[in-house]
Symmetry: none
Subunit: 316 residues, 2 copies
């Protein structure tokens, strides 16, 4: 299934807010086996939203929008959605009741601006939002699915987890995506690629490799697509083995592991403790080691002998 | 001027990386008076990049892309750009020379994968990248401008500031952005605001203040927009003086200064030296102090007495 994410809000375009919603939705769709083809951000502008919606609906089977469901004049996602599908907006008394209760619970009279949040395009299903005044919307045809979600991150996340992802799973047939990360150190991106050699006979639409360079080393992200989780895992196992046959000495860990957590695990396994003497790293080695929870089991302490005199006095 | 931002990379779509580049570019274009109409993210897929480029080029006078300029097989932005404009990619010996020098400077032979980074579409101008191996590209016609930038944030930011924004300004009508940051410590955001008092008579579309709370304290970002750099700087000077008249004792530095750099400067000025003994901070205090270049002039060293035994042995 191909999906497009459409995030709506001026604050995203002008860089006032970093678009963490697109990343969160992208990650959770990917993990659920949905292929995220594109992520688009437009401002609080009815015609821009309508055009973006038209293009997304043209290219993807699943479209998820966030933002523009609030009570103020610039929240016009529902108007744009209703216009695009040529649906009337009707008033839903049950939603208004929920919103009024929410305000009453805080001892506040509902401002009139919130009434618009009770408007629903004809034929759209309401996704109740327990964390805010803006409910989500769901619209499904034989070929397409659309989720309209609020932009407040924790409200959007709850609606995705409790309403949208379960609906997608019910459709079945979703491709499973398996991912694995190999962490390397002590070798650069291009040298790593040279050692791995030509993968053109191995890589295809269902098996992918990405090089992700960072300050601590290059991560290799292996992705396998399959009908079943077990098949994806088997591909990843074989691919990992192939890569390790060429670069095993540079691979220090997989997935959530870090260099310092691997060092810690090895020390624990061998019942060893560690003291650090560092100079120009200035405490960074000790700091990273102590970032691992439980490091007091093996780390005695560190001396940062920065000046020559300190090297003589403290380290003799 | 209408702009569209096109960020390229699978890691963005699957949510492994949050798209901070789009926010940074959006913010700096907006402050320069450019209207950011849309931000699109696509994966490392040639035809998806080409289609996105076609749509962006159709709707905006300025298109800025980031990502996909690295040395590995999944970095295909230039191929897609050349294909979209129907240009040949030609080999640029001067770029290759720069890349080889960069590797030689680190005592490494350049891997063959990096050769592709020296390919340039016909008629494109090269934007030299002092911080990495991937130069940016600039393409300008009577009606449109295109900047192709690397995805590594600090490389992209330098190219935007030093190459792209000055080119846009040459087209006239753009505003100059003056920014200054005051770093505070030892006071919370709301107390700070209370002490600063009402600024409504002072702030407007051309003079702005943002409160940026972080772990080390609250930063105050002052922004002044003007036709000329000198006017912007004069506004910032007056604004800073006004703020300092109210909160000067909480301000420890400006712009690129950090708490540790200011501590270092004060130690130097007074001819003092510093030794650190830390426990659960695990080396972080020493590490931050040694991050300041020239810190060896005043920092003797540090003891990270992590275990009780180390506290007794090293610190008595």
């Amino acid at each position: 299934m191909r999906a497009e994410i459409l995030t709506i809000g001026d604050e995203l375009l002008i860089g006032q807010t970093v678009n963490t919603n697109a990343a969160w939705i992208g990650e959770h769709l990917t993990l659920s086996g949905v292929d995220v083809a594109c992520a688009v951000t437009v401002g609080d502008d009815e015609s821009a939203i309508r055009r973006a919606l038209a293009r997304a609906y043209d290219e993807a089977e699943l479209v998820i929008t966030t933002g523009g469901l609030g009570p103020t004049h610039d929240d016009i996602t529902k108007v744009a959605v209703a216009a695009y599908f040529d649906k009337d907006l009707h008033f839903d008394a049950a939603i208004l009741d929920e919103i009024e209760k929410r305000f009453a619970g805080r001892g506040i009279k509902m401002p009139s601006g919130n009434q618009g949040q009770a408007m629903v395009p004809e034929g759209f299903e309401i996704l109740p939002n327990p964390n805010g005044t803006a409910p989500g919307l769901w619209y499904e045809t034989e070929e397409r699915m659309l989720a309209v979600l609020p932009g407040v991150p924790h409200e959007m996340q709850a609606l995705m987890s409790d309403e949208v992802l379960p609906r997608l799973r019910r459709h079945g047939g979703l491709r499973v995506i398996g991912q694995r990360t190999l962490h390397t150190a002590g070798i650069g991106e291009s040298n790593l690629q040279e050692r791995i050699g030509d993968l053109s006979g191995l890589l295809n639409d269902h098996l992918r490799l990405a090089f992700l360079p960072g300050t601590g080393g290059v991560r290799l992200r292996l992705t396998a697509l399959a009908k079943e989780q077990a098949t994806a895992e088997a591909s990843l196992d074989a691919f990992e083995q192939h890569l390790r046959s060429r670069i095993d000495r540079y691979v220090f860990g997989t997935n959530g592991e870090t260099l310092e957590s691997v060092v810690g695990r090895l020390l624990r396994e061998r019942g060893l403790t560690l003291s650090v003497a560092e100079s120009c790293t200035g405490g960074l080695v000790a700091h990273q080691l102590t970032n691992v929870s439980g490091s007091s089991a093996y780390l005695a302490g560190a001396i940062v002998a920065y000046s020559n005199q300190a090297k003589i006095n403290l380290l003799e």
